[in-house]
Amino acid sequence: MINRMEIRLTDLGLNGKIIRLGGIKNIKGTIQNEIKLGAKTIIAVGNNQTVNKIIGAIIDTEIYSDFQKKTLLGIIPIGDDNSIASSLGIKNSEEACNILLARRIEKIDLGLADKYYFLNQATIQSAGATLEIDNYTLQVSERGEIKIINLLSDNKETIKSNPHDGKLEILIRTRKNDETYLTSSRFKISNPSEKLIIDGVAEIETPVEIGVMKDKVAVIVGKERMFE
């Protein structure tokens, strides 16, 4: 599959260095070194987990900040768990190659939970959760799910999300079918008995500070992206 992709990219005239991350222990260091050497675009070939690791490497340092400001992120989705690619309007690997060629660029916000970044969303079970926002607290006693959304991954979702506004959408749906919706750019969330799941790939303990970094990452997107 990946070999076929390489041929397709070469056919389209998109040449570059290919690094296989499997087996590399210091992924962040490896990618940052490529940025230092002048890589302008980093293409994540894989699923959410791959994208998440690469985002951490693209922006997670001040040493090469001048280089990193210019670094673009592209995605070629492979396998399951590709909600980030879907959000960006990239449905499959075949389409991804054409999207890379078209080079439509958007700067979008990045969610931050402690030291973890998320493009799509962070989720946690709602029963027993508390959110501290500005001058008030929100307590949830019912079972259900809390979604902290930067970028929608499901276009059937009833809410709208704007990854350019410097805010995160907080959506709480309980099993009693009630819905809570609000936005915030900074808050604290805690649930002693549950972990916060970041983009479906990392789990972290709470309490944790959640924030958003406005227009932090430049990504190559498709026409069918789930935001304007």
Partner: protein
């Protein structure tokens, strides 16, 4: 903005919705429309409109442009423009309003005070200036 059933016409566009199983404590301040179906203790204020659902319990001072009350409010209410009190509403506190409608069955334990015309005009100008400033 209100229809006959005392529901927000632009429900989808509400900036904040507090669901029935949520408890909010503190000073809640917004700029857009707020829908409260759960419990709120503290204060509630917005430049836009507030809808208090029939299952909601609000122990707070409430202030906004237009307010619809169908649930329980323990605290003072101030609707700078229009206040609609539904038949299931229970209000324990003083009520200030520009205009008011009260449905049969509502409970109000407090003073009803109509905002003076000049106050209303001043409030209206403030709201219009704010809306112009925010480009609405």
């Amino acid at each position: 903005m209100f229809n006959k059933e005392n529901k927000l016409e632009k429900f989808k566009d509400a900036e904040t919705i507090i669901g029935a199983s949520i408890k909010v404590k503190g000073n809640f301040q917004g700029q857009g429309d707020i829908i409260i179906e759960g419990t709120l203790e503290g204060s509630l204020k917005t430049d836009a409109n507030i809808f208090i659902g029939d299952r909601a319990k609000v122990v707070a001072s409430v202030e906004s442009k237009d307010i619809i009350v169908n649930g329980e409010v323990r605290g003072n209410l101030k609707a700078k423009n229009y206040l609609a009190i539904g038949g299931t509403a229970k209000i324990f506190g003083d009520v200030q309003y520009g205009e008011i409608s009260i449905e049969k069955g509502a409970t109000i334990n407090g003073q009803l005070l109509m905002l003076a015309e000049e106050n209303r005009r001043a409030e209206k100008i403030k709201v219009e200036e704010r809306e112009e400033g925010s480009g609405k």
